[in-house]
Amino acid sequence: MKFTRKSMLFAAITLILGLFLAACAGDPEEDDAGSSDNGETSSEGGGEGGDLVIANNSDAVSLDPNGSNDIPSYDVQRNIYETLIQQDDNVELQPGLAKSWEALEDDLWEFELEEGVTFHDGAEFNAEVVKKNLERILDPDVASAQASLFEMIEDIEVIDDHTLQIKTEYPFAPLPAHLAHPVSNMVSPDLIDEDYAAMEDGKDPGSVINENPIGTSYFKFDEWEPGNYVRLVRNDDYWGENALLDSVTFKVVKEDGTRIAEISTGDSHISNPLSPSDVEQVKQTDGVDVYEAGSVSLAYVGFNMQQEPFDDKRVRQAVSMAIDKDQIIDGIYEGFGVPASGPVPSEIPGFDDSIAGLDYDVEKAKELLAEAGYEDGFSTTIWTNDTRERIDTAVNIQSQLEEIGIDVKVEELEWGAYLDGTANGEHDMFVLGWVSGTGDIDYSLYPLFHSKNLGDPGNRTFTDIDELDDLLDEGRQTPDQDERFDIYKEAQELLVDEAPMINTHYNINLLGVRDEVKGLNQLPTQYLELHEVYIEE
């Protein structure tokens, strides 16, 4: 082979042409969903409708309600499946597939189901289907990530086609709230049978459901290219009022800056979420705006109560009082946060605003430290995972605690190692959050503070207080709502005094949304309500 001038030139031209041709001849299939110019809206629905594209920071892990426990998965699932009961904007329970429900006895619930509901595959929705779904959640072979929400169910009885009774082992007040959690999404019975058949053949549980999810909701599954996008199309045979949008695409765009580019170019309509530090930029961009909504999510800095010196209540109180929460909210979250008085988010029914948290008081903090025998302070560590805002929070806490003589070392851990370490109690202090996913106050407190849940299940502060355990047990077993809230008030007061964590703030959910998107609603549980959304031309 000789390198003549001509052959070099020829090679160069071939390379360039090849590059162009190959690039131009991109896969046409890829072209029409994850990547096409979705800024254009089609409006076959007669003025309202359109194809909505949501740029999400993460892909769904599984489309089987029992497959995984994460918001991006549930966010897609909630548009394919429905639950018996739904949460509204105020985190109050509303009828879903169940028309009504009541507690016949303290431990016996009756649900009356909607009639005339069919799944996307034509299967009929009835009480047997509900039973089948609930039994699947509880099946140890399926190993549902959220089976614990229903562990108290003793018996499920089908009374007639559209009436169902659930008996619990002990009186369990939050049961309806748990039935509003996406894990209890109703899956087509035929699909469940197919899934079990596949399990017999050695397939993983959920593998069939995950491939082709079938529910009853106003959208139905169209296509999922993992890591790229999930697309749903409108279900025109919906039992209630049809959705307006023709289709919804949940597109994966991890990088904050790229999501903003997506919405400003019109390639996507919604950036979910929007980072607080990007709010200014979005506000200044034409055609897009910031959407804010309250949330049931708490940001906290926990103490390991089994570790010295945090086994001393006075030390925990002192550290809590030495932290000016506004510095964190204003400096790191750009003001998008509500200062927290306790661990129960203000959106949750049962939150008591008469309870004052531990206020910022450096002098009192120093006194308490001295009382506990640490007048010269001490050295400790604070753990955080690699989320930008959490790292900043840890650094801020470090500098604030320096003022009362506490020397804090910040350690940043990768998520898996972080979960592992905090579950094993290897930490001193740590920065984390908690979403009260069911919207019931029980879920805001029981997993976080009951001694039954030490470590892994949520109680990473290793709170182990008998009095608190009793209150939390009593709270979940008391049927009367007012009585319950009284018990929880006591628990919240106790938690302020015990101070197992610094409750920094309740998050505010932020989205970047294009102006032509109308009717959007984000629930405090972070899920997007898309039923009434349309794209205005």
């Binding site: 000789k2 390198f3 003549t4 001038r5 070099m8 160069a12 390379l15 590059l19 162009f20 690039a23 131009c24 991109g26 890829e30 072209d31 994850g34 990547s35 740029a55 892990v61 599984s62 497959g67 995984s68 426990n69 994460d70 072979d141 190993a143 990530a145 959220q146 089976a147 614990s148 397939k203 993983d204 549980p205 593998s207 995950n210 290219e225 993992p226 890591g227 790229n228 597109k251 994966v252 991890k254 990088e255 800056g257 790229t258 580019a261 997506e262 400003s264 170019t265 390639d267 990768e414 998520w415 898996g416 190692a417 979960l419 592992d420 370490g421 579950a423 892994d456 299940p457 949520g458």
Partner: protein, 318 residues
């Protein structure tokens, strides 16, 4: 040549076994339990135990490895612990996306780098030499995720141009994300190709300068060969050997190393898959993906070795 290829292919077997053992042990050495990550922040212990059981994580490590390798040689890389999909399926389309991305970027960097390097070497210490080397230094030191974000800002979101410029009013020419169409490919390829081009340019320059001082170049000139012929036939061909080596290694590195660019441009490739799977401790996917990448890496290096023979007949492969 043929025996050389066969021998090299056989050599890949121990390499792959080594890689698989290494990856397998590393994944199990780092803290973090896939079952716990799957179950989420709030799952009772027995739930986590159920998942662990289902995933076969309760068995001893040698047993787990044995199962993995027995299935792998039969083309079954297992299934993802996260999604339940077959690993081969998870890798599927992403493989070609990353290969395309790496290939186009390499082509771009070779093309730009060679031209810049030759011009620089031939006109050593001239203005163009200094200018090219300064630009190359920038190209090399620029973090590519930053360059990617800037390119998105300039050419996807676009800059509004003043009205006296005819025909165009904004530079929003390309798409900020995705992969497939021409308007999606341009920005990531430029982002990824820039650093490569800079390396190739510097490499070509220094390698050319070495060669140009050789006796046989002087001889070629002395016998009256045209300057073009001297540069391209005599000098460049010999100077290319280290360049080809670097390009081969770079291409290999790109296969697993495009993660930042994939993240910035929301491209669904292998880099993202590897990192996501490591974060979720999705052992089968990590193992499978790295096996595939190493296989490709070995293959690329084989091609590089063969190409030596084309560049310089004296290099004997056998």
């Amino acid at each position: 040549m043929f025996t050389f290829i066969i021998r090299r292919l056989l050599q890949t077997i121990p390499v792959l076994i080594g890689v698989s053992i290494l990856v397998f042990s590393l994944m199990h050495l780092i803290p973090g339990d896939p079952a716990q990550i799957m179950a989420g922040e709030s799952a009772p212990e027995e739930q986590v135990e159920n998942i662990r059981e289902r995933l076969g994580l309760n068995e001893s490590l040698p047993v787990q490895y044995g199962k993995f390798i027995t299935n792998a040689v039969q083309g079954d890389l297992g299934s993802s612990v996260r999604s339940g999909r077959a690993v081969t399926k998870e890798i599927g389309g992403r493989f070609w996306v990353t290969v395309e991305l790496a290939l186009y970027s390499t082509i771009l960097s070779v093309f730009l780098g060679l031209i810049a390097g030759i011009v620089s070497a031939v006109r050593q210490y001239s203005f163009s030499d200094v200018a090219i080397m300064i630009v190359a230094l920038f190209g090399l030191s620029m973090p590519n995720f930053w360059l990617g974000l800037m390119l998105i800002q300039w050419f996807a979101m676009g800059i509004d141009l003043p009205s006296w410029i005819p025909f165009i009013d904004s530079t929003a020419w390309f798409k900020p994300s995705g992969w497939g169409s021409f308007s999606q490919v341009v920005l990531p390829v430029i982002t990824l190709g820039t650093a490569g081009a800079a390396i190739v340019a510097r490499m070509t320059r220094s390698s050319m300068l070495d060669v140009i001082d050789e006796d046989y170049i002087r001889t070629a000139r002395a016998k009256g060969a045209k300057e073009r012929s001297v540069i391209y036939r005599h000098a460049l061909k010999n100077a290319l050997i280290p360049v080809v080596t670097v390009v081969g290694l770079q291409f290999g590195a790109l296969l697993g190393g495009t993660i930042l660019v994939e993240t910035v441009f929301a491209i669904n490739g292998m880099g993202t898959l590897i990192v996501d799977s490591i974060q979720a401790r999705d052992f089968p996917v990590v193992q499978g993906t790295i096996l595939v990448v190493s296989l490709l890496f070995v293959f690329v290096n084989l091609i590089v070795d063969i190409s030596y023979n084309f560049l310089n007949k004296r290099i004997d492969l056998d």
